[in-house]
Structure formats: structure tokens, C-alpha cells
């Protein structure tokens, strides 16, 4: 019997629709794979019974002729999404025991289309991190390990990237067909690049944020992590849509993204921003980027040099704006309404003890930075300044899009690094997001496409940045890029049952 966990979303969909396979057997296969891969620590809660119930429901939908693209597709859900009656803690200790009485809009959309929830995936606490080492539930291990010189697999673990590292590892290890992620400064795209997956962050406002545990409200967006661009298109269509419960959600119809994958990008103008050539970027990435340019040129696109002059300031801007918003968004975790409470002599004492015990180091660091940059006397110099620079960054893109249609860049400045390597150096960790943060600040869609392996056999991604609500065009180019790159590599299995 063929291994159903190797199927892409689109292949599984076709097989389900033709009734070659059932949602129940597809779900069972993935639940077994999850068991087998428990040492990756990708899932922090497996909802096996719920999954089987949903799969049975999905099979009924298919039999009744009501199947959607996502019907019967078993997926992992980042812990950050509130899922009714199920563990939803954004991987934080401070939300201990919290089971929401409501369901996020994005997951509701997925369930309405018949998708199947396998469980909640691990992540950096409150989505703050680029390696998934900041989880209360421990780090996630990347299914990909480097090759040693002799060709053997290293026994060192690498990080899956973050913050959607659990989702990325789950899909890369074939324990779910796809997974939801969230991206604030690169948290979908960077882990996609580290794990050889496609990761799409749509335009800010495309997906509802209602029921997503907030990190930085002006940046957070939901998106899929999938095996292929086509899979991303199918899943995006289900997740996206206007939501009157989110005032920043945009009321424009969701197109048929899959229909946009025409394979024809002739005449399309692809911008190459010169500022993304940063010092110290590994050769492999530089080379891959050049290759990507050639692939698109070969497909008939026109390559145009562009300038995004404020790129260098995007990261420091992000590290003012995001902490500022997080310091306020995380004020609600105070031991009163839900989650952890550590008793104290007074209300304030209870607050301080609860928050000291409940938040991890990185979260505390960002809350403190955010509190500082908003405080009296510093607001203008930091927060206001950063929001002005943010306008300049957004303007850079506006000007660039007068000359080009999409922008091609590397996704991350390196491949997956070793677990523990950067954990004690916050700043070097922050630099991981150098290529993904600018689009986040401008609210633009971005997608990471797996394009090759580095010299150690670790995957590398290329990023395409689109125009606001230009997901169709973005996916079309990504599809061509994916096709040209022909990335078919899979991590060598070192976990679980190795047979």
C-alpha cells in the first residue's frame, strides 16, 4: 500500500475526490506518523479522536458531493490559533490550562470546508522567535539534519526556524499534509525556508486575525505551510476572507488562487533589490538567488534592478514596533481571567509573580523593550520614529512597484542552524528575519519557495514579495519558480521507526 503521508495536498484532494482514498484512512496514516515522530516535538497536543470524527464528517461531505479543496485534508494548527475546547496557549506557560470557548475565524473557515485537525503545533512562545527554541514545551527539532563530510547524517539537531517551527517540522516530516502558521516578521517564510517547504504570508488584512492570539497586531497574519505552491493556493483560499469581527480585515472577494497557476509569466517584471545583498551572506544563498533570477528569466520574465533604500532600517524598526505592540497585547495575561496565577500579597504582587513565572525570557525581553519605547520621554525618539521609518519602507515598495510586478530575494540569510547555537545571542537571532521583515512592515504578501540545498544538504528558500492583494500573481510566479527549481529533496529519516 502506498504511503499516504507522502501525498501533497493537491494529490490527496484529487484522490479523495475520486474516492481512491478516504479521509479516515488519510487521517489515520498521519496520526500514526505523528506518533512515530514524537521526538521532533512538533505537536504539543494531538487531537486524535477529534481528527477521526472530522475525517468521518469529511468523507460524508465528499460522498454527498459537497467537497472543497480542503475536505478531508489532515492539517496541523499552530497553537496560537484559538480552537474551541482544545489547547490554545501560544506555547506559553502563562496560558496554562486555557481552552477557549470559541474558534478562530481562520480555523472555522478551514473546518467549514471539511479540513481535519490533527492537533496543535509547537511554536515560539507568543510567536516571538526565529528558531522555535522559545517554547514552554521545549524546542522543536527540524527533520533536516546536515550531512557530514563523509556523507553521513550529522547527529546534531538543527532548528526548524520560527515562530511556526512546529507547523513547519510537522509538514516536513510528513506528519501532516499542511499546517497553519502565522507570520509577524517572517514566522511562516523563514521556517518554510529552513524545512524545504512553501510558506505564504498573505497581504495584511487578507485573513482574519479574530481568534489568533495576538503578538503584534499591525503585523500578524495567518498563512499556510505546505509542500507545494499549488497546496498553498488551495489552503489560502480556504483560510482567507473578510471578517466583520476584525476591523483590519479587508472586504474584497477571495479569488480562486489555484486558477492563477497558469505557468505563464512571460513579460512579467521581476525586481531584484540591490540592498538585499548583505555582507556575510553565505555563498550558497548568493548562488541560489542568481539561479532564481535565471530561472525566471528563462521563463520569460523581465529582470529589473530596483532599490529599496530603507531596507537596512527594517529590522530595527520592527524591533521597536513589534515589542511596543506586544507589551500592550500581552498585558491581559495577568492571572485574573484565565491561565496561570501565582499568588502574591497584593494584586500587584500577584501580577508581577504571575508574569515573571508565566513568560519566558524572550517574551519578557520584548515586553520590557516595548514598555520602554512607549514610556514617557521615549515615545517620540523610538516608537514614533520607527512608525515614520515604517512609512518610508512602505514607500520604497510603492516606488519599486511602479517598475516591477514582484520582487525576488532570498528568504533567510542562512540555512537552518544548530539547536542552541544562537539562543544566548538575541541580536544574531533577530538577524534571521532581515529579508522577511520589510514586507511585513509594509503589509505586503510574501512567499518562500524551496529552491535548493546548501553544501551540507540543508534546504534553502527564495522569497517572492508581491503587491498588496496581489496573491494570485505572487502564486503564479512562485509556481514557475518551484517548477524550475525542481526541488524534490526530503529529509533523511533519523527519527522514530527508521524502516
Amino acid at each position: 500500500m502506498r504511503d499516504l503521508t507522502k501525498l501533497t495536498l493537491s494529490a490527496a484532494r484529487d484522490a479523495l475526490h475520486k474516492k481512491d482514498i478516504s479521509a479516515a484512512e488519510l487521517t489515520e496514516a498521519h496520526l500514526r506518523a505523528i506518533d512515530d515522530a514524537s521526538e521532533l516535538n512538533a505537536y504539543i497536543e494531538v487531537t486524535a479522536d477529534k481528527a477521526m470524527d472530522m475525517a468521518v464528517g469529511a468523507d460524508k461531505m465528499i460522498n454527498a458531493g459537497n467537497a472543497h479543496g480542503m475536505t478531508g485534508i489532515p492539517i496541523g494548527i499552530k497553537d496560537l490559533y484559538c480552537t474551541k475546547g482544545v489547547h490554545s496557549q501560544s506555547s506559553s506557560h502563562i496560558l496554562d490550562g486555557f481552552k477557549p470557548e470559541y474558534e478562530s475565524t481562520v480555523t472555522s473557515n478551514l473546518w467549514a470546508d471539511g479540513a481535519v485537525m490533527l492537533g496543535k503545533t509547537n511554536q515560539d512562545e507568543f510567536a516571538m522567535g526565529s528558531s522555535n527554541e522559545n517554547s514552554h514545551y521545549g524546542p522543536v527539532k527540524n527533520p533536516w539534519r546536515a550531512d557530514k563530510k563523509n556523507g553521513d547524517l550529522s547527529d546534531k539537531n538543527t532548528v526548524p526556524g520560527g515562530s511556526s517551527g512546529g507547523s513547519a517540522a510537522a509538514v516536513a516530516a510528513d506528519t501532516s499534509i499542511a499546517a497553519t502558521g502565522t507570520d509577524t516578521g517572517g514566522s511562516i517564510r523563514q521556517p518554510a525556508s529552513f524545512t524545504g517547504l512553501v510558506g505564504l504570508k498573505p497581504t495584511y488584512g487578507r485573513c482574519s486575525r479574530w481568534g489568533m492570539i495576538a503578538f503584534a497586531s499591525s503585523l500578524d497574519q495567518a498563512g499556510p505551510l505546505t509542500k507545494t505552491v499549488r497546496d498553498a493556493a488551495i489552503m489560502m483560499e480556504s483560510m482567507a476572507g473578510y471578517d466583520p469581527k476584525d476591523s483590519t480585515s479587508t472586504n474584497i472577494p477571495v479569488p480562486n488562487y489555484e486558477a492563477a497557476l497558469t505557468g505563464d509569466i512571460r513579460g512579467l517584471k521581476v525586481g531584484i533589490p540591490r540592498e538585499y545583498r548583505v555582507d556575510g551572506m553565505p555563498n550558497g544563498i548568493e548562488t541560489l538567488w542568481s539561479q532564481g533570477i535565471d530561472w525566471l528569466k528563462d521563463a520569460g520574465a523581465e529582470i529589473i534592478d530596483i532599490s529599496l533604500p530603507h531596507t537596512k532600517y527594517a529590522l530595527p524598526t520592527y524591533y521597536i514596533v513589534a515589542p511596543a505592540e506586544c507589551s500592550s497585547n500581552l498585558a491581559r495575561y495577568d492571572g485574573v481571567k484565565y491561565g496561570l496565577r501565582v499568588n502574591g500579597d497584593s494584586l500587584d504582587d500577584m501580577y508581577k509573580k504571575t508574569r515573571a513565572a508565566g513568560f519566558g525570557d524572550e517574551v519578557k525581553r520584548r515586553i520590557l523593550i516595548g514598555t520602554y519605547v512607549l514610556s514617557a520621554g521615549y515615545y517620540d525618539a523610538y516608537y514614533l520614529k520607527a512608525q515614520r521609518v515604517r512609512t518610508l519602507i512602505a514607500n520604497d515598495f510603492k516606488l519599486a512597484y511602479e517598475k516591477c510586478d514582484v520582487i525576488l530575494t532570498p528568504t533567510a540569510p542562512s540555512a537552518a542552524f544548530n539547536l542552541g547555537e544562537k539562543v544566548s545571542d538575541p541580536l544574531s537571532m533577530y538577524l534571521n528575519d532581515v529579508f522577511t521583515v520589510p514586507a511585513s512592515l509594509a503589509g505586503l504578501p510574501g512567499i518562500s519557495v524551496p529552491a535548493g540545498l546548501n553544501s551540507q544538504g540543508l534546504p534553502l528558500g527564495l522569497q517572492l514579495i508581491g503587491q498588496a492583494f496581489g496573491e494570485e500573481q505572487l502564486l503564479a510566479v512562485a509556481d514557475v519558480l518551484e517548477c524550475a527549481a525542481g526541488f524534490k529533496a526530503k529529509p533523511k529519516k533519523w527519527w522514530g521507526d527508521k524502516s
Binding site: E101, Y204, A356, I369
Partner: protein, 95 residues
């Protein structure tokens, strides 16, 4: 601009996060590293540039004035660490 220990303590208090005296030093170092690094924004000329208030160009949606929510106390207090007689309960506050 860099922060001293006293400022770190003040921020921690504003943020209601207990930071012990021996953690202060280390936290101060970390914060200063980050603050020194973001300091580079001061070299950007932002004269006459509007601060960004929203990345999407849209109007604030307005809701109709109707009662469409609430009325489910059990669900609201269900996750509370301590609730009594339908109230959330916290250590006594003296005004």
C-alpha cells in the same frame, strides 16, 4: 540612550514583571544591546514623514448598535483561576 538599573526596575514595574535584584544587571545589558542597535534609526531623516497608523488603506468598519453578544457567564469565567459567585476573584485591593 541607554538604560540604567533603576530604569530597568521602573520599566519592569510598569510591565508588572518581577525582576529580582540579581537579574537586573543581566537584563540591563540585554536591553542596552538591543537599544544601542535600534539607535541606528536616528540617522534616518524622517522630517515631514507621517507615522504609519495602518498598513491597509481602508475605512474603520462601523457596527450596528445591536445586542449580538454576551449572556454566557459560564463560558466567560470558565478559564478563570479563581471565580466566586459569578465574579472573578483577585487579592483584595485597598483604595
Amino acid at each position: 540612550m541607554s538604560v540604567d538599573k533603576e530604569t530597568v526596575a521602573k520599566i519592569a514595574n510598569l510591565a508588572r514583571i518581577e525582576v529580582s535584584d540579581n537579574e537586573l544587571e543581566n537584563t540591563m545589558g540585554e536591553l542596552n544591546n538591543i537599544l544601542d542597535w535600534v539607535e541606528q534609526l536616528s540617522e534616518v531623516n524622517t522630517d515631514g514623514i507621517e507615522a504609519m497608523t495602518s498598513v491597509v488603506a481602508a475605512d474603520l468598519p462601523l457596527r450596528e448598535d445591536k445586542i449580538t453578544d454576551g449572556g454566557y457567564r459560564e463560558e466567560v469565567i470558565k478559564n478563570a483561576p479563581l471565580a466566586e459567585h459569578g465574579f472573578f476573584a483577585v487579592p483584595k485591593v485597598i483604595e
